[in-house]
């Protein structure tokens, strides 16, 4: 048993779904980036050619990740985390600006996006911290350290790349799984609701609504538990938050940020300008119908109507060419992958690998959800790629590493006996 090879312990479900997703992703990149006449699928002038190269590079990458001893990731997680943070911070000095965002290191013709790798590193650090000692997350100090591990990369990334920063918030779900009190999540949840409401309504109304709700809750609580001071504090906090959101939205946000929300909330219709992306995206997907137009037959895809289609909007190609059926299959594959990872994480023998697995699932999920919701016009436009599908080497490598470290840990669990 002890000498059983890694290969036979690998969870082939995860690996299979991963491979299918990578292949499907490439086919869609091919469709959305290929010119009328394709000379070679390795044509480096086109995204599909480069992506194919990236895919081939992932093979040695996977082998390396699987070859490294599982203990290594645990031992060096702090260092990896520190390096990743340095990498992200270094962008302020050495970063290269591409399309208005300084997210890249440029080495000749090759660019690297450190934020992508920071996700795996943060997951490792969090797993290390939560798994290292017998941590009780009821302890406020531990809570703060746990949240700080997540907050640190967010703070470093948010100025350049708010989309990627958003991803890290998903890790708070992991903290909850490991014992973080529920009110953190409730607070976050209520904060989001209030944020959206404050964009739709005048802050005064929100405060009034909150007053009514709190009053109702107060009246329905048993007499002994009533606490007028606590209720008042909550109301004050909500009011302060609402007004400051309103202020921030109107005065701190830049126009293009505001527009993204306004278009989504239907407060602004502008299919040519800021709403163009999302409108074209919906047209492309909507035109797919039940069965889609068929591979390479998408008129919107071929016409290049959807901007950034091969990266953040790759799902529009799926929608147009593969239709409702195909899109649903892709969604099921993602959900299958994520649920499988959670399932395996729960079965891990060590807390470290369990937490890590959870982190992987959360990160994949939030990518998947924000990306598809955005493309379908349910979420503001933020630059979040669809894992394994969206064009880009850094993303593909980062997700590969993220997933296969977990595959390695999972394969290793038998060996720990």
């Amino acid at each position: 048993m002890k000498n059983q090879s890694v290969r036979s312990n690998i969870d082939w479900v995860i690996v299979s779904i991963y491979i299918i997703l990578v292949i499907l992703g490439w086919l869609n990149i091919f469709s959305s980036s290929s010119p009328v006449e394709v000379t070679s699928i390795f044509d480096m002038n086109y995204e599909y050619g480069k992506q194919l190269l990236f895919i081939i590079v992932t093979i040695p990458l996977i082998i390396v990740v699987l070859s490294i001893d599982a203990k290594f990731y645990e031992k060096f997680s702090s260092i990896i985390y520190a390096v990743a943070l340095l990498g992200v911070a270094g962008l302020f000095v050495f970063g290269k600006e591409i399309k208005g965002q300084t997210n890249w290191y440029s080495f000749g013709s090759f660019s690297l996006q450190p934020a992508e790798f920071a996700k795996a590193a943060t997951a490792l650090a969090l797993a290390k911290y939560l798994g290292d000692v017998q941590i009780n997350l009821n302890d406020v100090r531990k809570q703060i350290i746990g949240l700080a591990i997540i907050a640190l990369p967010i703070l470093l990334i948010i100025p350049n790349d708010p989309g990627s920063a958003l991803i890290f918030t998903a890790l708070s779900l992991v903290l909850y799984r490991e014992g973080l009190p529920a009110w953190y999540l409730w607070t976050g949840f209520i904060a989001i609701i209030l944020f959206v409401m404050s964009l739709l309504l005048q802050p005064v109304y929100i405060v009034l609504i909150s007053l009514v709700v709190i009053a109702l809750i107060y009246l329905r609580t048993r007499l002994v538990n009533r606490n007028i001071v606590f209720s008042a504090i909550i109301l004050v906090l909500i009011s302060a938050y609402t007004f400051s959101v309103s202020y921030v939205f109107d005065n701190v946000f830049q126009d293009h940020h505001r527009d993204r929300f306004n278009v989504l909330l239907g407060k602004r219709v502008d299919d040519k300008g800021i709403g163009y992306n999302i409108n074209q995206s919906k047209i492309a997907i909507g035109s797919g119908g039940w069965y889609g137009k068929g591979f390479l037959e998408g008129t919107q895809t071929k016409g290049g109507f959807v901007p950034e289609q091969h990266t953040d909007y790759i799902f529009t190609t799926v929608g147009e060419e593969w239709g409702f059926i195909g899109s649903t299959v892709v969604i099921l594959l993602f959900i299958g992958l994520i649920l499988r990872i959670i399932y395996l994480a729960e079965r891990q023998k060590t807390k470290f690998s369990r937490v890590y697995g959870y982190c992987v699932a959360s990160i994949l999920f939030i990518h998947f959800f924000i990306n598809t919701a955005m493309v379908l016009g349910m979420f503001p436009t933020v630059g979040v790629p669809l894992p394994m599908f969206s064009y880009g080497g850094s993303g593909l490598f980062a997700f590969t590493i993220l997933i296969f470290i977990f595959v390695k840990m999972d394969a290793n669990k038998v060996n720990e006996w």
């Binding site: 799984r177 014992g179 047209i283 909507g286 071929k302 109507f305 899109s327 959900i335 959360s362 379908l376």
Partner: protein
């Protein structure tokens, strides 16, 4: 509990996304439409419209190229408006107006910017076309007429109206469609089918190849040529003879029902409805409510037929057995058909059928009609029997010919009189005017001509029609069906003899043609109009019906000249000249021809609208 949170969120999220997908992809159809508009550009290839030939294979309507400038408002970018206006000789105001209209139709589909450029304008524009993004040239074919006659037969082609485009998806803005006449009736055959090419476009509107390898593309199908039954030489001659007159001429080949000539006067040169002046000229024609050049009198004008209907009266009398050839009626410048009621006649003497016809005796036919009606106990039955016989000549009903307009005319039935005399009590005496075509009875010139063709055939006719041959097509079966009258063949002989006598000692003796035996009948129809609200009698309509040659009829003709006075004065000579032209090809009686050419009735017509008192019938 804590374990369940993440999977729960994931599953709920997945369900939400699938529902949203289902809504966008399956339920919401508008997106599919938008995608087609977005990415697919349809390019039409317009086939040439079919040519029109006359019955002898002479080309009468051909095509000429024409160029429309189309505009796709969305694509209009950074153009020098002033230069464009100067080039096309329009004002900035025109430019803004046309573009605004195009945007209303659709910002992303082409609409006509400037129609029907001539070659010179086209060349000037084409040279600089690349400077004007969003503008393109579409070549279409317009009509090129080889004759100045026949505009009422051809109709014309024009841009399909918004209403048509809405109703018939084949037509797009700027497409041409046949209106009126043969162009309308045979639109689908003449126009062919335009070819469609679907091109894919990218977001810059750049062509990126055919859509689905041209799976849905179609090739343009050429319009088919048509041979009309018209003899264009006869048609032209008829229109010349009708110069300065109003009325209609219809000539039919009795053996086939083919319409040899269909003249309406006044008419216009079909060429004026081609090109950029089309709309202005059409408005002018349309607004001429006095002479009504767009009104096809041959088909649409209902007149009291006058004496030619005596032919029917006689035939029905024979068929019903109330008279035979020898039956004699007295005429004393008319006859008294009831106490205090007298029908005037221009002649006198005892008349049998032959003389009755040749002298066009009102008294004779008044008697025949009354005897026919009085054969039945109830006059209503008599009228209905008479009506049934008359209708078997194609009267009182739409004829079913292949031109888009027509009128029923009127052959009164008992119902008609029930309306007029709701209390009943009417008898044959009340309706005797029908005997001589002056009562309620109304006919169009084509019905008159067809009636003559029926007489020529001794009891049958084919539905008149205007198209003789379409390449690869048979003419419609309904034009090959023989319509047989309710009158026995044997009764036609004596009537035809009478009609022949009209030219030999009868009312048209002066109009004989050397070497052609013609059978005909004059008609002089009293008519009235309301002038300033007063029912006023106007100069009689001059009517003539004829067929020739007597023994092997090749042409049956009806001529009606509005307010042309008595039948032999205007209509008779015209009918005679037309017959000569058709049968001989040359006119021997140049003096008669000249007299008709010179006969200008405009003064007569001007009288009625002058507001001054006027005399009629030559006085």
């Amino acid at each position: 509990m804590r374990k369940a949170l993440l999977p729960t969120i994931i599953i709920i999220a997945a369900i939400l996304i699938v529902i949203r997908l289902f809504y966008l992809q399956v339920i919401d159809d508008t997106l599919k439409l938008k995608s087609d508009n977005n990415a697919i550009k349809i390019i039409y290839d317009y086939p040439e419209r079919g040519y029109i030939y006359d019955r002898n294979g002479k080309l009468i309507v051909a095509n000429q190229p024409s160029y429309d400038i189309m505009v796709t408002p969305r694509d209009v970018k950074n153009i020098d408006t002033l230069e464009l206006c100067k080039l096309l000789n329009i004002t900035k105001g025109d430019f803004d107006r046309i573009l605004a209209k195009a945007i209303v139709y659709s910002p992303r589909l082409p609409s006509v910017f400037l129609p029907q450029l001539n070659k010179k304008e086209y060349a000037a524009f084409q040279e600089k076309q690349r400077k004007f993004q969003g503008f393109e040239i579409v070549k279409r074919s317009l009509r090129d007429y080889q004759t100045t006659a026949g505009s009422n037969i051809f109709g014309f082609i024009t841009q399909a109206s918004e209403k048509i485009i809405e109703k018939n998806p084949y037509y797009k803005p700027g497409d041409l469609i046949g209106k009126q006449g043969v162009e309308q009736e045979y639109e689908e055959i003449l126009r062919g089918r335009k070819g469609v090419k679907y091109r894919q476009r990218d977001k810059f509107n750049k062509d990126i190849g055919s859509y689905k390898e041209g799976k849905f593309d179609t090739i343009a199908i050429q319009g088919e040529d048509i041979n009309l039954t018209i003899d264009i030489a006869l048609q032209e001659y008829g229109e010349e003879l009708m110069t300065n007159k109003r009325g209609g001429i219809v000539a039919i080949e009795p053996k086939t029902g083919e319409i040899l000539a269909l003249v309406t006067a006044p008419s216009y040169d079909p060429a004026i409805l081609v090109g950029r002046e089309r709309s202005r000229n059409y408005t002018k024609l349309f607004n001429d409510s006095i002479s009504k050049p767009l009104f096809d009198r041959g088909l649409l004008a209902v007149y009291p037929p006058g004496s030619p209907s005596k032919i029917i009266t006689g035939l029905i009398g024979l068929q019903e057995g109330v008279i035979d050839e020898q039956t004699t009626f007295m005429c004393n410048h008319g006859f008294s058909y009831a106490r205090g009621r007298f029908m005037r006649c221009h002649g006198s003497g005892p008349h049998q059928l032959y003389n009755g016809i040749t002298q066009s005796c009102n008294a004779y036919f008044g008697n025949v009609y009354m005897k026919t009606i009085n054969k039945f106990v109830r006059p209503a039955d008599g009228v209905d029997v008479w009506s049934k016989h008359a209708r078997s000549f194609g009267l009182g009903e739409y004829m079913g010919y292949d031109l888009p307009v027509g009128k029923r005319g009127l052959i009164p039935t008992s119902k008609t009189y029930k309306r007029i005399y709701p209390n009943g009590g009417w008898r044959s005496t009340a309706i005797v005017s029908n005997a001589i075509g002056q009562g309620e009875i109304l006919m169009t010139p084509i019905q008159l001509a067809n009636m003559m063709a029926t007489v020529a055939n001794e009891g049958f006719y084919y539905t008149p029609h205007i198209v003789k041959r379409i390449k690869d097509h048979q003419i419609e079966q309904k034009f090959k069906n023989k319509h047989v009258t309710t009158i026995d063949k044997k009764y036609f002989k004596p009537v035809i003899e009478g009609l022949h006598g009209v030219y030999n000692g009868g009312t048209a003796s002066a109009l004989k043609i050397e070497g052609i035996e013609i059978c005909g009948k004059t008609g002089t129809a009293e008519n009235f109009a309301k002038i300033n609200g007063v029912r006023t009698q106007l100069t009689d309509h001059s009517i003539f019906v004829a067929f020739a040659p007597k023994d092997n009829p090749k042409i049956a003709i009806a001529v009606l000249v509005e307010h042309g006075y008595y039948g032999a004065r205007n209509a008779g000579p015209i009918a005679s000249l037309m017959i000569e032209k058709y049968l001989k090809g040359v006119i021997t009686r140049k003096d008669l021809e000249k007299k008709i050419y010179d006969n200008d009735l405009q003064k007569e017509y001007a009288k009625y609208i002058s507001g001054q008192p006027f005399g009629i019938n030559g006085r």
